[in-house]
């Protein structure tokens, strides 16, 4: 199939349609809205369900209900709206239902702004909802990857009865790139042995996240944790660039990883042996791979569009065995490749700092400018 020029939000929507999306429920919020708008025409055209909900609370609970029937379902939002969905996300996780949620992140906290950011890392990867649960989180860095990850997200969700979050940001949602779309599937309505679609010809079922008896709840939580162990063992995804002979590496996900690649290329052109490690699955995080990589490096630079949320995970994984530095832009501002390149130069040329937290050093360097 030939490549088409597509906007990120539309590409994600069409990828979901082609993956057999049966029903979509959402609420308008910038910079995600085109996804909803596109599906408002596309889904009815195919005889599938589209509904604009009264709120993100409504949307996530419609998705919750529809997922109970075995239908392939999705919702999408952006940071403040995703915060509102956290209640439903926790319930969906507790009921063990396959649901795909797209979060096109924007600047925050609060109403913030509509520019791209990555500050939902903590609320998505480490769970913004209550209780012990783990969504699978996939972070695309370009539109082709957004299509491919979305297309595969539903199978992944159904395989593990899990939530899969496509964690994008406003720049990915809004930008246009040529990309290839996958094959079209019919709308998918499954009848797995847990789904509630009417009890004709079988015992009746119920789906709930309530386990009033604490030992039963604990048993369920153990089951969820064991399933997460399996996901961690099998579903890690990451990309490596110029790492074969690298002495240093940048770690970045999604858009910040993509921008960092330009900086890495520029540094390589100057003779610096540096590469890029880009986790694609933020949960499960490529822990082993990053740890093994770190053992043969002189230093790591973590680049994010937040105040160092993934940084904490990187520090944890690398176990303070090598110097780690951090560079972040916040509030809807993208880091420029030159800024990252300057940080690479500094890391390579200055003696490694051993004092304090990388975030403190970053704040000492940049915090006073604002």
């Amino acid at each position: 199939m030939a490549k088409e020029l597509m906007k990120g939000n539309v590409a994600i929507a069409e990828a979901a349609v082609r993956a057999g999306l049966n029903a979509y429920f959402g609420y308008p919020i910038t910079p995600q809205t085109e996804l909803l708008e596109y599906l408002s025409a596309r889904m009815p055209e195919l005889g599938r369900t589209f509904l604009q909900a009264e709120s993100e609370l409504g949307a996530v609970n419609m998705v919750y209900g529809a997922a109970c029937t075995g239908a392939r379902v999705m919702s999408s939002s952006s940071s403040p709206g995703t915060s509102l969905m956290m209640e439903g996300i926790s319930y969906i996780a507790g009921t063990e239902l396959p649901v795909v949620i797209v979060d096109v992140m924007r600047g925050g906290p609060g109403l913030g702004n509509i520019a791209p950011a990555q500050a939902d890392y903590n609320q998505i990867v480490h769970g913004g909802g209550h209780g012990d649960y783990h969504p699978i989180v996939l972070a695309p860095a370009n539109i082709q990857e957004a299509i491919d990850l979305t297309y595969g997200a539903f199978d992944l969700a159904e395989k593990y009865r899990s939530i899969v979050v496509i964690l994008a940001d406003g720049s990915l949602g809004q930008m246009m790139e040529p990309a290839e779309l996958p094959e079209m599937k019919e709308a998918i309505m499954r009848t797995p042995d847990w789904a509630t679609y009417g009890s004709a010809g079988r015992e009746r079922r119920f789906l709930s996240s309530i386990y009033l008896d604490p030992p039963q709840q604990e048993k369920t939580n153990f089951r969820l944790e064991r399933r997460w162990q399996e996901i961690k063992a099998k579903e890690v995804q990451y990309k490596e660039y110029f790492l074969d002979d690298a002495e240093y590496a940048v770690v970045g996900f999604g858009t910040s990883g993509r921008i960092a690649l330009s900086a890495v290329r520029a540094a390589r052109a100057k003779g610096i042996k540096i590469g890029l490690f880009r986790p694609v699955s933020l949960a499960p995080y490529p822990e082993k791979e990053l740890y093994e990589l770190s053992k043969r490096l002189k230093g790591l630079l973590v680049v994010e569009m937040n105040a160092g949320q993934m940084l904490e995970d990187v520090l944890n994984i690398t176990r303070s065995q090598i110097p780690v530095e951090f560079y972040g832009r916040m509030g809807g501002i993208l880091p420029m490749p030159e800024e990252i390149e300057a940080e690479i130069d500094r890391m390579v040329n200055e003696s490694a700092a051993s004092d304090g937290h990388p975030r403190d050093r970053w704040l000492a360097r940049f915090g006073k400018m604002n």
């Binding site: 609970n61 529809a66 109970c68 379902v73 679609y197 004709a200 709930s208």
Partner: protein, 259 residues
């Protein structure tokens, strides 16, 4: 002595749509009556295998244990949204929510109004017992002016806590509503009227006439601090005057139905 052959005649049995289990409801609570009425209607319409219920949060949180058909359990107030999700992907199924007044008229007001306005083709069984029963009898949006609860110990002061919400009247103003009525369960006559209304609500759904809701005035003897009989009397004397029994929205097509 003459031989008499006794013919056994069954006059009262558990509806098939009710599971054969004991409920956790307090003695004298009308949840049991409401459950039975819903189950009888579902049996009579023969739609047990074709119905999906949505339980809410509150005393009826375990409704899924008592009804013998497919059920899901919603977050507090969100049952109409969950029901919408189910109905939209399975339009041929009957979808029912079973909600209390704290769930529906307070935390879930957004979801119920939106569902009614959309004309969502679902049936809502709405129990109004003028307090939060499950958490021990706190003030609800339906608590009457002056009514003492565990969070309005001096009686509901409308200057501070505002006024009760007449849900059926409010939802009936929405064009998407096909059938919205209020009934009570304080005596046999009203119980029979309630059952007929529940039947009409499901007929509304069956005929695709839009959103249907039956508000049922209910007792909460435990939290009201009354005997079951006193509680029934209080429904009649205190609740019915504030929440009149009546038909607030009836799609004209329902009057033509024969069943």
């Amino acid at each position: 002595m003459e031989n008499v052959t006794m013919q056994e005649q069954l006059v009262y049995d558990r509806p098939e749509s009710m599971a054969s289990v004991q409920t956790h409801y307090c003695p004298g609570c009308t949840h049991g009556v409401a459950h039975r009425l819903v189950a009888e209607v579902i049996d009579e319409m023969g739609i047990k295998d074709n119905t999906i219920g949505v339980a809410s949060v509150g005393c009826s949180v375990f409704a899924y244990n008592y009804f013998d058909f497919d059920f899901v359990q919603a977050p507090h107030g969100r049952a109409p949204a969950m029901a919408t999700g189910i109905k939209r992907v399975l339009p041929q199924r009957f979808v029912m929510t079973y909600q209390g007044d704290g769930d529906l008229a307070s935390i879930g007001m957004g979801e119920i109004v939106a569902a009614a306005a959309r004309g969502e083709n679902i049936t809502v069984i709405f129990l109004n017992n003028a307090n939060y029963g499950m958490t021990g009898g706190q003030m609800a949006p339906t608590t009457l002016p002056g009514q003492k609860t565990s969070s309005s110990p001096g009686g509901r002061d409308v200057e501070v806590a505002g006024f009760p919400i007449r849900t059926a009247e409010m939802l009936a103003t929405l064009d998407g509503a096909g059938y919205v009525v209020r009934r009570s369960m304080h005596d046999p006559k009203n119980v029979r009227m309630a059952k007929k209304a529940i039947r009409l609500a499901f007929e509304t759904q069956k005929n695709g006439l839009g959103f249907s809701l039956v508000e049922l005035l209910s007792t909460c003897p435990t939290n009201w601090g009354m005997t079951p009989v006193q509680a029934l009397k209080w429904v009649e004397d205190a609740m019915v005057p504030y929440y009149p029994i009546g038909d607030y929205k009836v799609n004209p097509a329902l009057k033509e139905l024969k069943f």
